[in-house]
């Protein structure tokens, strides 16, 4: 401790306090409590001036700006200091940090600092009102004040939120979203009135977004006037833009289980407008939907459908990655969604199935039909319909499509329908994919019994005959493409593969954090790693072969148009009444 004190004092005296703090931060024996306590103690004893030193901190490659800001975060609540220099210091760091999430800890520290002395919020408010340069700290100041005297600071917040200056109004309103509400109802009535006035008179999206947050904060404090709050939010969302929608998505995603049906529905009706590019808002919505998946899957699926079917065509199921990840971990839910969405015939939902099963789920996940999602009165017709959908959308995951069709066969009693499903399995599925898909169906045929087994055998027999016929044709060099054509295609293919590799590498998370070195010869890589003691260790890394394979559909070459046309028909056709 003595050493630390001495080092900090020496550092302050030599004008290198920050460098000393940073060195301590990096030291193996770094103890953040000890550092913060010692810094605060020395500051409070007027031996050093922490606020002055940190106020001079700038982003400098020699020191980690965010590490030092963090040190101030843990030190500031312990500091005894006039408010004015603290405002300057915190504001400087807040602005340099980009006003983003990383600055949140510092603002919290400032609020805690203000809370420590009831005079500080008043002092800070006076400085801020006098000097608009400090406006960014108005909200935190009012929040800190409300924790000391809720009613008084609510009144201050309402006063400032009613200002003619948008910048002041916006920041004051921000404090309402995070304020500690007083119990006295008179003050909250003023808040309702103010929010209604803002929604009625203002068009600023950021202001309306803050009004939504404030309104929800008020609702959590006082549930008696929910219809009024819903009206305020509705009004703000009608007038507001993306920021308002984002604020609503935050309420929806982080407080889903707390929302009443009417508020839930009210928000939901607006959130369908969220554009797919606003990933933050989409993530919030996804979080809300995910919270329903375990307890009320039907509602969650319906919500998802609403978003996917909304007119904004840039929202896809992949936008909801948290939902996707939860669904994929629940095979029964996958089966249910796949069946339901194929049966709907809605192109957007069917496309979502393709993304759910095929895109990033690992090719050829096996899927089963969920009979509860089918109308049993029309099971035959509907089975053919969704079998064609499965082929249309899961064509490039042939095992997924085959497993789905085979599971459909189990619910069928009519032989003609079974044959029709078998025919679909044969052509286009197995006719195009004679590798793993064929093996899969063969293994299924061995395990199945009765009519399903018979249908699968017929299908396999037809394909085997087809393949045998093709194999029986002699090598006919006259028909082969010329060497020049082969070389031209090979060059094109190589170029495309190289480009694809380059694109993939540019998106690789792994390659973004490591250096890439190319090994030209040999089968292992040798390097020497130097330890802290300066000694080197020889490391030899053997290299392995990494390969992947995929099967291209046969008709993609033989009849690309016909294949594409068939798949399009399967995708777009609808059930006739």
């Amino acid at each position: 401790m003595k050493n630390l004190k001495k080092a900090l004092v020496d550092g302050f005296k030599s004008g290198t306090l920050l460098e000393t703090v940073y060195a301590r931060y990096l030291h193996e024996s770094y103890d953040e409590d000890a550092l913060a306590t010692t810094l605060a103690a020395l500051h409070n004893e007027s031996v050093i001036d922490v606020i002055d030193a940190f106020g001079a901190l700038t982003k400098d490659p020699s020191m980690d700006f965010f590490a030092l800001t963090y040190v101030l975060e843990i030190t500031l609540p312990k500091i005894m200091s006039p408010v004015d220099p603290v405002l300057g210091c915190v504001l400087s760091l807040y602005r340099q940090s980009g006003k983003d999430m990383s600055a949140g800890g510092l603002i919290d520290a400032f609020i805690t600092f203000c809370e420590k002395d009831s005079a500080r919020p008043d002092e800070a408010l006076a400085v801020i009102e006098h000097n608009s340069e400090y406006l960014d700290l108005l909200g935190p100041t009012l929040i800190a004040g409300s924790r000391i005297d809720g009613e008084r600071y609510l009144a201050q917040a309402l006063r400032l939120a009613d200002s003619y200056k948008t910048e002041v109004k916006r920041r004051a309103l921000f404090s309402l979203a995070n304020i500690t509400w007083p119990n006295a109802s008179g003050s909250t009535e003023s808040a309702y009135t103010l929010l209604e006035k803002i929604v009625a008179e203002d068009d600023d999206d950021e202001l309306l977004a803050t009004a939504i947050r404030a309104a929800y904060s008020l609702l959590r404090h006082d549930k008696s006037q929910e219809p009024r709050i819903i009206q305020i939010m509705d009004g703000a969302l009608i007038k507001g833009g993306e920021q308002s929608l984002h604020a609503a998505s935050h309420v929806f995603g982080f407080h889903t289980r707390e929302l009443s049906d009417s508020l839930f529905n009210g928000l939901f009706s607006h959130l369908a407008r969220v554009p797919g590019v606003n990933q933050g808002s989409i993530n919030n919505i996804g979080r809300g939907i995910s919270s329903f998946l375990k307890t009320d899957a039907t509602r969650a699926i319906e919500m998802l459908e609403s978003f996917l079917l909304a007119p904004t065509d840039d929202v896809t199921i992949e936008s909801f990655d948290s939902v996707l990840s939860r669904v994929r971990n629940d095979p029964e839910l996958v089966n249910r969604i796949v069946t339901r969405w194929f049966a709907s015939g809605e192109q957007v939902l069917c496309e979502a199935v393709r993304q759910l099963i095929g895109a990033s789920y690992g090719a050829n996940h096996r899927v089963q039909v969920d009979q509860s999602e089918l109308a049993q009165s029309n099971i035959e017709k509907q089975s053919i319909f969704i079998a064609r959908k499965a082929i249309g959308y899961l064509f490039f995951n042939p095992i997924s499509a085959a497993s789905f069709i085979i599971s459909l066969m189990h619910g069928i009693k009519e032989n003609a329908v079974l044959d029709e499903l078998g025919d679909l399995l044969t052509n286009p599925l197995l006719l195009n994919f004679t590798g793993e898909a064929h093996e899969y169906v063969t293994s299924c045929a061995a395990e199945e019994t009765g009519a399903v087994q018979e249908a699968l055998r017929k299908s396999l027999l037809a394909i085997d005959e087809y393949i045998e016929t093709l194999r029986s044709i002699d090598e006919l060099p006259e028909l082969h493409p010329s060497e020049a054509q082969r070389e031209t295609y090979h060059r094109k293919h190589t170029r495309e593969m190289a480009q694809a590799m380059e694109d993939a590498e540019s998106k690789s998370v792994l390659l973004s954090i490591v250096d890439k070195q190319v090994i030209l010869y040999g089968r292992s890589s040798i390097s020497y790693v130097y330890g802290p003691d300066g000694n080197s260790t020889r490391v030899e890394i053997p290299m392995g072969l990494h390969e992947t394979k995929f099967e291209l559909p046969r008709l993609g070459q033989i009849d690309p148009f016909g294949l594409e046309y068939t798949l399009r028909i399967f995708r777009s056709e609808q059930m006739r009444a």
Partner: protein, 571 residues
């Protein structure tokens, strides 16, 4: 070179091969061939008969009994029709006493036992005994084996002062590259162009040149057959046929010795072409047309473009076979009723094979190149001439049009004006509207389909083409090509641009207007009828030229359908 020729002779294994080339060789040696091989059986044991002097020897009559390949025991005295001994007996017992032309009576007669390979030891004794027994009076025997024939061919056609060094080199290169048919064809075409450049030659040199083409083509054919790859032989036979027809044109209407020699050799080249396409189709196409995706799979293409290009090429070749058969039936007079019937049957079989090829290889429903209309035209012609195929023809034309427009609308692989392979590989560039318009600026495909639809009274298809023209192809110049006065000079050799194109074909007007427009142009132009191949009833050569050099097939060939449509009584 002698080894090449020796190899070639030894590999001649069919009747109609060695005995076809033999008359040219004899003529080139200075003999007068007075009996040539015809269809059917030999003339009392004689395959070829000639008279004259060889070198410094006195004039003699040479009667050839030809046996392809080696002469083994079974060939000596086996099956009566194919064996040598019965043939020799027929010559002695029947030909010499009764069929030898009167003017050659009393002359020395040499019966030549002509084999492409060798006379095997197992036959030597009986053969020598036969010769000894029958050598009497003015009758003697000679043996011409592969070595002897090679030496004669080399000295008569291919020796250095007769065949230029670069031509010999091109022949060797084309033989060496048979497994790379594109290269072999390129070298052989260059050889043909050199040999056929006879504009300033006299008769003797011209006759020798055409015989050189014939012998080189036969050598290539035999080597290709042995290498199990007929591709270069097929294509080379087309180019040889077209170039030699151009030479034949110089002798049109003439009946002198040179004219007869040129026509005779042309027939030998035509026989080689016939043999090439028969072998090609028999090996690669007809056995597999009934197999679903059979020929498509056999292409072993790296991509759909390879399959598309090859299938339309195969379709064109198969259709040409049908055209030759149809022509054969038309040319055969009533006295050769059996041949007429055989040709008609072959035409029907070709049409059936085309129908199967199309239905089992769906790439044939959507051309990737507009110029594949040429192959479609010829195939449609074969189908239209077959009464059993009209329904399939209509369906095919309709699918071609429907798929083309759908592919165009969906930016699939729609027919385009590109011809270079690497450009076609990049086709289509999706989302590039300017590109789409640029590569569809002109078309012969759609007007050709519209013309067929109009001729076949397929109104629904005709109206659709008109509608799609307005909706999607307004920027595209629907056009068709007609021969002009320069065509006769260039159509067989592709030496320069020729012909004229009728633009803005009015598929969007009533079909009567369209037919009037396109056939009026036929009526007003005499140039098609002035083409030598048309004048001398070899119209399939025009189709070969169009297919080979990628020119639209003249609409004049459809005049019969037009007239039939105008007057069903005469159709």
């Amino acid at each position: 070179m002698k080894m090449i020729i020796r190899e070639y002779l030894a590999s001649l294994r069919e009747r109609g091969e060695l005995d076809v080339i033999l008359p040219d060789l004899l003529s080139q040696l200075g003999l007068n061939v007075f009996s040539r091989p015809g269809h059917g059986t030999r003339q009392d044991g004689v395959d070829v008969a000639a008279v004259g002097k060889i070198g410094k020897l006195p004039e003699k009559v040479y009667l050839f009994s030809v046996k392809p390949g080696d002469l083994a025991r079974r060939d000596w005295d086996g099956a009566p029709i194919q064996s040598l001994r019965p043939s020799l007996n027929e010559i002695l017992d029947a030909y010499i006493p009764t069929r030898l032309p009167v003017e050659h009576h009393g002359k020395d007669i040499v019966i030549v036992i002509c084999v492409g390979g060798d006379i095997l030891e197992q036959v030597r004794q009986p053969l020598e005994g036969f010769k000894k027994k029958n050598t009497k009076g003015n009758i003697t025997f000679e043996e011409w084996n592969g070595d002897h024939l090679s030496a004669l061919i080399q000295s008569s056609f291919l020796r250095a002062n007769l065949l230029p060094r670069n031509a010999r080199s091109l022949l060797r290169k084309s033989l060496a590259m048979i497994d790379e048919p594109e290269s072999a064809y390129r070298h052989f075409s260059a050889l043909i162009r050199i040999l056929a450049d006879t504009e300033h030659y006299g008769d003797t040199k011209r006759v020798r040149a055409i015989r050189q083409i014939s012998i080189c083509l036969w050598i290539l054919f035999v080597w290709s057959r042995d290498a199990n790859n007929m591709e270069s032989a097929y294509r080379s036979s087309e180019v040889a046929l077209l170039h030699t027809w151009h030479i034949v044109g110089h002798y049109a209407g003439k009946k002198n010795k040179a004219a007869r020699a040129v026509r005779s050799t042309f027939n030998s080249i035509l026989a080689c072409h016939e043999q090439s396409y028969t072998d090609y189709l028999g090996k690669c196409v007809t056995p597999y047309v009934d197999k679903q995706h059979g020929i498509s799979s056999a292409v072993r293409g790296s991509n759909s473009l390879d399959i598309n290009l090859k299938l339309f090429d195969v379709l064109g070749r198969l259709a040409m076979h049908g055209i030759w058969s149809y022509w054969g039936a038309e040319m055969a007079d009533e006295e050769r009723l059996q041949i007429k019937q055989q040709c008609r049957e072959a035409h029907r079989e070709s049409a059936a094979a085309i129908r199967l090829l199309i239905s089992n290889n769906p790439a044939l429903f959507l051309p990737v190149k507009d110029e594949q209309a040429i192959d479609i035209y010829i195939a449609a012609l074969v189908l239209a001439l077959d009464p059993d195929s009209s329904g399939d023809l209509k369906f095919w034309l309709s699918e071609l049009a429907k798929r083309s427009v759908l592919a165009y609308k969906s930016h699939g692989k729609y027919p385009c004006n590109l011809n270079i392979y690497h450009e076609l590989l990049e086709h289509p560039k999706i989302g590039d509207g300017k590109y789409q318009k640029r590569v569809t600026q002109g078309s012969i495909l759609y007007p050709m389909i519209a013309i067929w639809a109009a001729l076949l009274d397929y109104d629904e298809l005709y109206e659709n083409i008109g509608k799609w023209k307005q909706e999607h192809w307004a920027h595209c110049n629907f056009q068709y090509w007609y021969p002009d006065e320069a065509s006769e000079a260039h159509i067989y050799r592709n030496t320069d641009a020729h012909g004229a194109t009728l633009s803005n074909i009015c598929v969007d007007r009533p079909k009567e207007d369209l037919l009037a427009q396109v056939f009026q142009e036929c009526d007003s132009s005499p140039h098609f009828n002035q083409l030598s191949a048309v004048r001398f009833n070899y119209f399939p050569l025009i189709l070969i030229a169009c297919r080979h050099y990628r020119l639209p097939v003249p609409l004049q060939i459809l005049q019969g359908f037009r007239e039939g449509q105008q007057d069903p009584e005469t159709s």
